[in-house]
Amino acid sequence: MEAKQYIGEGWKHAILIIGAIVVMLPFYMMVSMSLKSQQEIQSISGGLIGAQETQTFPVCVKTGYSEETCTMKPYQYNYWFAFEKAPIPRYLMNGVIVTLSIFIIQVLVALPCAYALAKLRFYGREFVFSMVLFCLLIPVHGIALPLYVMLAQAGLVDTYSALILPWTISVFGIFLMRQFFMTVPDELIDAARMDGMGEYAIVWKVMLPTAIPALLAFAIFSVVAHWNDYFWPRMVITGNRDLFTPPLGIREFRGGIDSDEFGPMMASIVTVTVPLIVAFIIAQKRFIEGITLTGMK
C-alpha cells in the first residue's frame, strides 16, 4: 500500500518537474547568455557561465572605446556594455513611474466604484455593473487606434500621460474588487456608519484594509501587465527615448549596424526582469499572509 502511494506521488512529482523545467528553461538560457561571451553563445558551449576568459570585445572597440576599456571578463562586459549602450536605469525608472501611477489611479477609481456597485443601492446599479462586464469583453487592441487618435488630438503623444491615462480605469479591477466587497458583511459597513464614518471614509478606512488580499492579487495583474507591455508604449512613444519603458529599451539591442550581440541584450533583459520577480516574490508572501489575515467571521 505504502509503496503504491509513493509511486503515485512520484508520478505527480515527475510531471510537475517536467512542467517546471519547461517554464524555467528560458530563464536559465537568459541568465546563462547574459554571462557568456558571444562566441560561447553562438557555439552553444560553456555551460551555465562559460569560461569567463578575459578578452577584448570588438563591438565595444567599434563603438569608440579604447582597447584597454574593452578588455574584461564576459559577464562584466555584458552588464557594463548594456548600461553603456542604453540608459537602462532611466528605462527602469520610467517603468516604475508608469506602472505605479497606473496602479495607484486604478485603485483610486476602482475601489469607490466597486464599493458603490457592491454595497450601495441606487437606481441603475445592475445596468452599470452589466456595462462593467461588457467592457471586460473589449480587447485593448481593438480600441488602440481610436485611443491613439484621441491622445494625438489632445497633443499627449510622447508624454507620460499617454502611457498612463488610457489604463487608469480598470474594469477588471472594478469587477475583482466588487466581487470581493460582496463578501464583506453589511453589518461592518453599518457599524462604521453608526460610528460616524462617511461613505468615502468607509471605502478607505474599512473596505481597503479588509480587501488587502484582493488588492494584492490585482496589483500583481496590473503591474505585470503594464511593466511588460510593449504594444502600447511602442504606439504612443514615437521619438523621445527618455520616455522609453523597459520593454522598449530592450529593443535598442536588436539588430543595428554591428549585428546582434546577445550577451549585453540578455544582460539588459535580466536587469528588466529582476525587479518584477523580486516584487512578485515579496507580494506572494504577503498574499498568503493576507488570506489568513481575514478574521471576519
Binding site: 453608526m194 474599512v206 488587502i212
Partner: protein
Amino acid sequence: MGTISLKNISKSFGSTQVLNNLNVDINDGEFLTLVGPSGCGKSTLLRIIAGLEQQTSGDVLIDNKNVNRVRASERDLAMVFQSYALYPHLTVRRNLETPLRLRDYNGFERLPLIGNFSPSKKEKTESINQLVNKTSETLKISELLDRKPGQLSGGQRQRVALGRAMVREPVAFLMDEPLSNLDAALRVHMRSELSELHNSLKTTFVYVTHDQAEALTMSSRMAVMIDGNLLQLDTPQEVYDNPSSLSVAQFVGSPKINIFKGTADSSGTISFLNVNLKRKSSESNTDLHIGIRPEHLEITNERNENTFSGTVAYRENLGSDIFFHVNIEDGSNKIIVRGLPQFTHQISNGSSVNIKRVSDKALLFNQAGMRVQFTNA
C-alpha cells in the same frame, strides 16, 4: 434622556410590506425587547430607529425631536450587531477608539502625522484614552486591548462590540440579536451580564431577538411582532400570562402552549374533549381555541369528568422538569404536560396517563385568533 417614539412607521421593500403602521413609545432607561419569529421585521424596525434604513412613512422621534432627516451617526445611538462587526484590521483599543475619534477630532486632526500638530489634539487624545480605559475596565477587557478581533473568542468579541457601543455614552443602545452567535451556556451568562449592565448604565436599551427566553428574562417591556405587525407591548409577565392573541400565546413560552379545539354553547359554557370549564365565555355559540400552558396541566391518578387521558409518546427529561408529549385518546391533539420528576419519574414512553388541569389558567381565543374574555359571573 433617551426616549424614542415611533409613530405610524411603515416600511415596504418594493411591493412587500415589511412593517405595518407601528406605534411604539420607548421610555427613558427602559429595556425594551423587540421579539418575533425571523422575518417579522424586527431588525428592520431597529435599523429604522438607527437611521440605517429609511421608513416608507411615519416618524421617528428621539427625545421628542423628529430625526427622520438626521443621519445615523448624528442620532447619538450606538448599535451592537449580531456578527459584532468589529474592524478586523484594527486592535481592540483602536476599535473602541474609532467612534470617539470620529466624534471628537475635527477633520484636520484626523489626518495622519500632520494632524498631530493641532494644539487641541493632545487633550482630546487624553480624554479618549480615559474613556477607553474606563469602558474596558467595566467590561473586563483591559488585557485584550492590544489584540486583533481575529484573536478573540466569541464572548470576548461580544464584549468588545459592547464596549465600542458604550464608549460614546449614547442616548440609547440598539442591539440586533447580539447573543445569537454565542454558545448556549455563554448566552445564558451574558443575559444576566447585559441586565446588570443595563441597571448600572440606566440607559435605554432596544434589544432585538427571536429568542423569547431572552425577551422574558431581560426586558422591562417586550414588544411581540409577527408579520410586520406589533401584536402586544407589555411587561414579560403580562405578555406570558395574558397574551392578546393566539399567535402571541404560541410564540411566547417554551414548550409551546397547548391548543385545544372547543366550543361555547348559547349560554357561554365552554367544553373541549370531555371537559366543561367552570367559567363562561363572553362569546357564545362559537368555536373556540382553548390554550393551556404545559405547567398548568398535571398528570394525575384520578379519573373523572375533569380529566382526560392519553398515551405518552415522548418523554423529555430536563432534570428539573420532565415534559411529557402526550397523544390524546381521541387522536385530535398532541399536547405537552409538565411533570415534576419526584412524582413522574416512573412514567415511561407508551404508558397511558390521566391529565388534569389547574383551574383558572385556561386562555380563550376565537377563530380569528383574538383573545376572548371569560364573563365575570
